[in-house]
Structures are given as structure tokens and as C-alpha cells.
Symmetry: C4
Subunit: 280 residues, 4 copies
Amino acid sequence: MIIDRTFAEEVVQPRPLKSHKGTFGRVFLVGGNPPYNGAVIMAACACVNSGAGLVSVATDQNTISALHSQLPEAMAFAAADEEQFQQELLRADVVLIGPGLGEDYLARRSLEKVLNGIGPQQTLIIDGSALNLLAEKEDYKLLPQKLILTPHQKEWERLSGLAVEKQTPDKNRAALTHFPSQTVLVAKSHHTVIYGPDSQIGELPVGGPYQATGGMGDTLAGMIAGFAAQFSVSSFAAAAAAAYLHSAIADQLSQTAYVVLPTRISQELPEAMKRLSMKN
Amino acid sequence: MIIDRTFAEEVVQPRPLKSHKGTFGRVFLVGGNPPYNGAVIMAACACVNSGAGLVSVATDQNTISALHSQLPEAMAFAAADEEQFQQELLRADVVLIGPGLGEDYLARRSLEKVLNGIGPQQTLIIDGSALNLLAEKEDYKLLPQKLILTPHQKEWERLSGLAVEKQTPDKNRAALTHFPSQTVLVAKSHHTVIYGPDSQIGELPVGGPYQATGGMGDTLAGMIAGFAAQFSVSSFAAAAAAAYLHSAIADQLSQTAYVVLPTRISQELPEAMKRLSMKN
Amino acid sequence: MIIDRTFAEEVVQPRPLKSHKGTFGRVFLVGGNPPYNGAVIMAACACVNSGAGLVSVATDQNTISALHSQLPEAMAFAAADEEQFQQELLRADVVLIGPGLGEDYLARRSLEKVLNGIGPQQTLIIDGSALNLLAEKEDYKLLPQKLILTPHQKEWERLSGLAVEKQTPDKNRAALTHFPSQTVLVAKSHHTVIYGPDSQIGELPVGGPYQATGGMGDTLAGMIAGFAAQFSVSSFAAAAAAAYLHSAIADQLSQTAYVVLPTRISQELPEAMKRLSMKN
Amino acid sequence: MIIDRTFAEEVVQPRPLKSHKGTFGRVFLVGGNPPYNGAVIMAACACVNSGAGLVSVATDQNTISALHSQLPEAMAFAAADEEQFQQELLRADVVLIGPGLGEDYLARRSLEKVLNGIGPQQTLIIDGSALNLLAEKEDYKLLPQKLILTPHQKEWERLSGLAVEKQTPDKNRAALTHFPSQTVLVAKSHHTVIYGPDSQIGELPVGGPYQATGGMGDTLAGMIAGFAAQFSVSSFAAAAAAAYLHSAIADQLSQTAYVVLPTRISQELPEAMKRLSMKN
């Protein structure tokens, strides 16, 4: 199926009048370790601008000041703070781990805390280097149920065992059967495809080479988290609509920009979502 | 009564020609402890942009750099610096405590210093987690006279003992009699109501779900502080006009934005206040 | 004399085609100690945007990151670094000390280093709390020759011994005779007056109460430093033209802003100076 | 030859549709030591905005937060981290060393690591204070092959032994023979000239005194790195096109700005490159 504007309009509905921050979900982001501190900043920026009710970030101590310099709207604390980490993990509606997480001891420990602590009602999005750590696991079936994976081709190769040139729709779908049955796969490439648990295959009619720059994936992951937190739709629909809008905004910006910076996409989110919600 | 544009125009008067920074008041903000560092940044941003003459912030040491990265106009120091804290407390016209204060030992200590040190001519605004700490007190009548409380429904429940569903105008007004007689209550919800000491009940014809995002309350608290510091009107009028303008700006921004970020409201303040002061 | 647009146009000349950074002067700023870190950031921002060739800042270690977050164009180092301090002092064309300097031991030490190290060809601008420290001196005649003082009324009271209500043009001029003969005085108030060494008294037909907010003076001081560094005119002309433009920009912004933030004035500088230089 | 718009249009081609971050190159920047922390921030800003696929910065620990505050798109780590340094050096397509590097022990050590570790396929750009360190070397012929030098007149004097007034095209070309045969020289002055290995001499019809401000060279160096990383053209063509565009953007901004700040040029890059790539 084609994930087009009409699909995204179905997801991005006008907000209910009687609502509060909690109505739009609580998102917990984990990542941003050196030298990738900026990755979790970009994810948080996308998440807040996409309308998540509350956004909290566990990261390296040195990332916090840079995050709050540009996004005071997000909460942030050192990922090494066990108590705070558990508390945020417990009350989140959506957890996103991976943007700039790295693969060192602390990264591994954060991933284990998330995998062990997350409950069946919470959506877990795994992105970036957390996918490489995941690839070391023996049995993917033990992963949480409400799972969204957002690998680029090399990450998916490590995870699925499929070499990049063998990542066809059929093989990707077969590889996905090794994961929990509700898993959504956002297979990123110059032609991103979203795989849903009911054999959905969503293709994007948007996107282009102006998006090939560092941080683009972190921004998409943050948007998926924001959409999953606030919209009462399936994980597939949330991920697909976010991926659509991410590339649709880039397309529009590329009319006047040779390269589209990830943070520019986040800035456009409130206006672009408003237009979607008004269906015009 | 309806707090409308005409009400706000009465408050936001053109500035006197012969004036200096002191004419527009000195505001002292206390808050911004981890992980809520951004809260006091947003409050300070709203306060400076609303026209307060001088704004000083006592916060966590790590908040200061992020604050000055985006708002060099505000002064800032570590809340643990006792001498500086007492000095700023002494000379402030308005004190706002709460945005991102937290509830730990340092938070409690800061609140006690404020409650013990504030004088009868100084306006005290209590917001956020400081309201939770206040709820532990036995006798609200011992609080300072010029008091403005800005709780959301759960905070007001803790403070008043009224469960959220019982927070009717009559019950709220009755609960307010346990506080000093001049207390103003800004009862925040998707339908915010402002209660004054002379039985005023102000209702807002503005506001909407695009405001349901983290930091919105911190921004409102900063605006109330700025209004109370510079306008020679009652605390009720200052709080009501600030609440009106806060939501009126959000309404306008929401014409083209799905979610309105708190910092965007602050950016609009100088222009919106100019229009109010010109009554057009 | 009235310092008007024509006066400023005479100062802000088109740049010579054959030029390099050095042509437009080297400015050394000293200040920004806690809690006033933002003051030197605002001064540096004004100085860079006014076109100074190179701007270097000696400040508190914690100010540096916030400065570079918004103004990577300026150099910065800890004021406690004696060697670097002496080196910058030696090669500066203009030294500005005072914005957010404070009055503690380090502040005093910085002022002494500047007063002792500055040469007869270097312009020295003394602002803010450095003026209070100066007021403790016994003999102002020992101060450097190329001196610009930028006190507000209370600072001038401490410096001159004239109570605010006695600060008339005649008395101010008389008080100025206690300083080196070439001293320029920028007496800031809601009606700023600039006093030159040849009995000039410059009055501004611009400015208003929208400027009464923290940081406005720091911004003016930074502009005066930038003008003195790059324009081949007298200190009086540089200070007067900067004061004119500072208020003229504020006037223009105030058409649509209730309060004009200092950093907004700096943002407008390149455009406003371009218009002046083109005399249209 | 004149490096004009047509020349730049040949370099800045539309991006290939089937591409990813790696297609547009990996750039490694080294610099930003105190007090010049901002220099490497400006270089990174130019490099990211010019479309490099991935940008990584080795710098002083204190620079990192300020960098990520405005450019989360770049990776960053402490230059003292030997392992990370070697890893980034190894996988970079282009290495730029110099913006704000300084000349102390750590600066020298960073330069040695780069000179010793760089391979024959990697482009090395040497800028700023790294050029002064280079001037201490005995035999320039031992330098890496794919070399771009970006000195201003005093730096070139130290490097070539030619006093500023003797830096004629003929003498510059002769001096260049002491460097590896493929070396490109960007001789910066108010009339910048680019020398290529095949006796090319490129002159710019653009640029002016509004560019004479601190950070301009750092921005140019970052652009050259970005161009060299993504365009399949000679080092001469990449450097010349970048130098053209840098000054062409400044020219355009100078229509309404007395001084053009380096960071403003970087902001314009995506739009200006889009126009070039569309040849209109």
C-alpha cells in the first residue's frame, strides 16, 4: 500500500477539546552519549514538536545543557541515575532507545534496563546503535510485544542476517517472523518501506537525496515516538504516518534547499500537522 | 466575569515616558532543578518578554549555562548560594517559586527561605511542585498575604483536599477561605478559572488543546510574575490578564500550528502586548 | 547639539574596499561574572554585530559555553588566565570593562590589570559595576587618557558625588573636569546625554520606555566599543553615534513591540548600519 | 581564470537519487581550543549546511556543549581521546585541521596525529593556526598528497617565506612547488586567489569588506571541506567553487547588511546551493 497524504490525515486528527498533557502521552527517550550527544537532542526536538504531551530524556550528563539550550520543553537527567531512570521508564507510554546511544557498557546497561522493565502496554521503539546491541541477542521472540524497529540497511543486515542486496520485501517479511508478532519494521533506505504485523507493506511516495545527512534518522525516530504517544492508532499507522510526514516536509523544504537539515524538519512539524489535521 | 481582551487592555497600559528598569519591577524566580531545568528557563523567558524590568533566577548550577544560552537578559545563580538568595529575595517586587523546583531537600529549603523571608509588600506566586510541598503545611493562614497560587487540577486536589471532579466554583471558593484573605487562585484546566479575593471569578473565553504540552504552565507563571511586577493593578487583575493573553496568543498561533510550544508564546509577547496597549 | 541621523551617517561610513579584520579593530571585553554572566554576552553580541573586526572576552569560565552557543564569532577565555589577559589587553584597540563584572576580588583585580596595563593609544570604556569600583579611587586624573564612561544615574552619583536630582548639564560638566581632559561621558537616563571633551553636549531625540529592561546598557556599551574600534572619529562621535543608533533601533522595534529586548537590537545592527552608511 | 557562477554550477550538481549519508562524504574537523572554541563551531556549521553526509569534530571538551547547542547534527568528542581520534581520522574522506586549533602542545600533537595517520585517498585541508605549526617543518614535500592550504597573507608569509607585499601570482606559484605536486592553495586576502596543481589561477569576481570579521575564514574552510567531501571534482574545483559561493552569499547579504556574520553565510548555504544546482 502507498502511505500518502490521505493515510497521514487519518492519523493526525484534530485534538479533543477536553484534554491535558497526559492525553497526548508521555515519551521517554534514551540516548545521546558522546560523541553522538546531538542525536538524542534531535530526537527530542522532533518528539516535542510533533505534539507529545511530556518528553523526558535519559542521556549523558554533558548532553543536558545543550538540550535545554534549544529545547527547555523536554525534561532531562543522567542515564546513570538508576532511580530516575526506573521511574520514567515505569510511567512512559512510549519508550525510544537508540539515538546516539553508542555501544559501550552504559549503553548496554540502559538497553537491558529498558528491555527488562517495559510493560505490555508500553510501546518500545528501538533505533540506531541499540539495534546493533539487539543483534547480539539469541532470541528476538523474548522482546517486548509492542515493538517498532527503525533500522537503516546495515543495521537491518546485522539484525536480520540479510545482506543489503538481499533485503527484498519477501525476505524482510520472513525475517520479521523471528520477532514478536506485533512488531513493526521501518526499513530505512533511499526508498523506505514500513512493514506491519498484518502483512502490511507501506511504501512512501515521498523523500529524496536532500535527506541523506546525519541526524535524519534520529528525527524520524522522535516523530514516530510522538505519533505513537498521542494517536489512537496501530503502531504501524503511527510509524507509517510519521515516516510519510518526515519525508513530505523534507520534499517541501527541498524546493528551496539543497540539503534539508533534520532540525529544520522538526521546526516545520506544528504547521505541517495542522494542515494535515484540517485536511487541506 | 469573562476575562476578555477589553479586560487585558485595561491592565496592559502604555509605559510611562519617564521610567527606568526599576519602574517595571524586579522579579525573583526559584526553580529549575534536574530533571526540570527547562521549566525555570521557560518561566524566565516569559517573564523577560512580558516586560519585567529585572529578572533574577536561583536554580541548579547546571541550568545556568542553558538559560544564558538563550536568555542572557536574565541574571542567574546557584540556589544553594545562601547570601545571594537572601539578597535577591529581599529586593524583589515579585517572587515566583515552583517551576521545576522538585520536591527534594534543596527544594524544601528554598521554599522555606522564601516563606520566611518574604515581606508584606512582596507578591509571592507559588507554582508547580512548590504547591505539592505547600500541601504538607498545616495552616495555610500563616502564608504571606500577597499570594497567587497557580495549580493544575491534581495540584489543587492536594492543596485543597478537593478531588478533581469536586472542583466546582463554589467548592473552590470555599477552599480558598483557608488561605490568606488576599489570595488569588489560578485554577488551571482545559477551562482555566481565576478566583479573586473579592469573590471575583474570572473565566477565559480563550485557550484550547494545542496548549496541552509540557512547559505551558511554567510560561504562564512567568507571565503572571512579569505582569504583577510592572502593572499597578490587583493581583487578580494581573493574573487574569496574563492568563488571558497566554491563551489568546496560543489561540492565534494555533491557526497555523497543531501544537503551540511554550517558548513560541514567549516570543510573541512583546508584539501581543504592544497591540493590547494600543487597543487595536 | 542634537545627535540625529545625520550625525550618525557621518560616523558610519562605507567600508574601505581594501581592508581586513584588523582594519576594523580589535576589542577586548571584560565582565560576565555570576550572576551577571549574560551581561558580557549581550555586550559581545552588540560589538560583533556592530562590525568590530575581532572581539575577545575575558569572563567567568562558566560564561564561555553560553557565549559560544549564540556567538561563536567571539573569542573567550577565563579572566583568571593572567597570561592570556595581558596578551589581549596589549593588542586591543578598545577595551570595555564592566558589563556584569561585579565587585568582588576578581572584579577588582581585573580592573586594576586594565588600568595599569592600558596604553595611551587604546580607548578604555568603563561601564556597569566597574564604575562603582572606580568611585572608590581618590584621583580620577590618574586614569587613562582615552576614556569613555557610561554610567546610569546612580552610578554617576557614586562617581561624581552628584545626587541624581542634581545631575544638571552644568554640574555634570563641572564634575567631568575631575577626569582626564579627553574623557567622554555617556550619562544614561530616560533622556541620555553625551558629554564630550570640547564642551560638546549631545542630546538624543530618540529612545523610550520600551528600553527600560535589563541588559540595555550592556548592549549600548558593546556598540560604543565596536564603533570606537572601527571608525576614525573622536570618542565623542563614536559614543554619540552608537547611543543614537541604539535608541533609534529601539524606537523602530517599539512600533510593534511593548518591550524591546537588548539582543533584538543587536540583531538589527547590520541592517541599520547599512542603511546609515548608504544615507537612505 | 575567473571563478564565476558558471564555474560553481558545474561543481554543485543535483544529488543522485539513489544515495545515502555515505554518498556525501565523511568530514573530520580538528580545532576549537580555547579561546578559539567558536572557530570550529563555525567551520562545522558551514560544513553541515554545505551538505556533507557526516561531520565529526575533535575539540576541547568545553566546546562540545556550545557546538551541540546550535548544531546537534555534528558529532563531537574531546581531541585528547586518542582512540576516537584515530578512528575518525581513519574513516574520514576529508580532514580539516586548524580552525581555532591554537599552537600549544595539544594542538601540535593533533597535527602530528593527522599528518602521520592520513592516507593517500584522504583530502587534507590545513587552515588557521595549523598553518603556523606547519611553517616550522623543514620539508613540505613530506606532507600528504591531497592537500589544500587556506592561509591568509600573514600565514602564507610564514609558510612561503614571501613577505606580504611580495605575494605575487608568480612568486606564489613558485613557492607552491615546495609542496606536494597536487597541493591547492587558497590565498586569502581582500582579493582571494586559488592556485591549482595544473597552473590554474582562479580569481574571484565577488567578495568585499563586509566579510572582514572574525570567523569568516573558519566558515570558508568548513565549506571547502563539505564541497571536497561530496563533489566528484578536483580539489582545485571544490576549493574554488566553495570560495566563490562563500563570497557570493556575502555579497548578496551585504545588500542589506553593513557586516556579514560568518554564521549568516552558513544559514544561507542550503538555499544558495539549491539555486546553483538548478542553474537559475
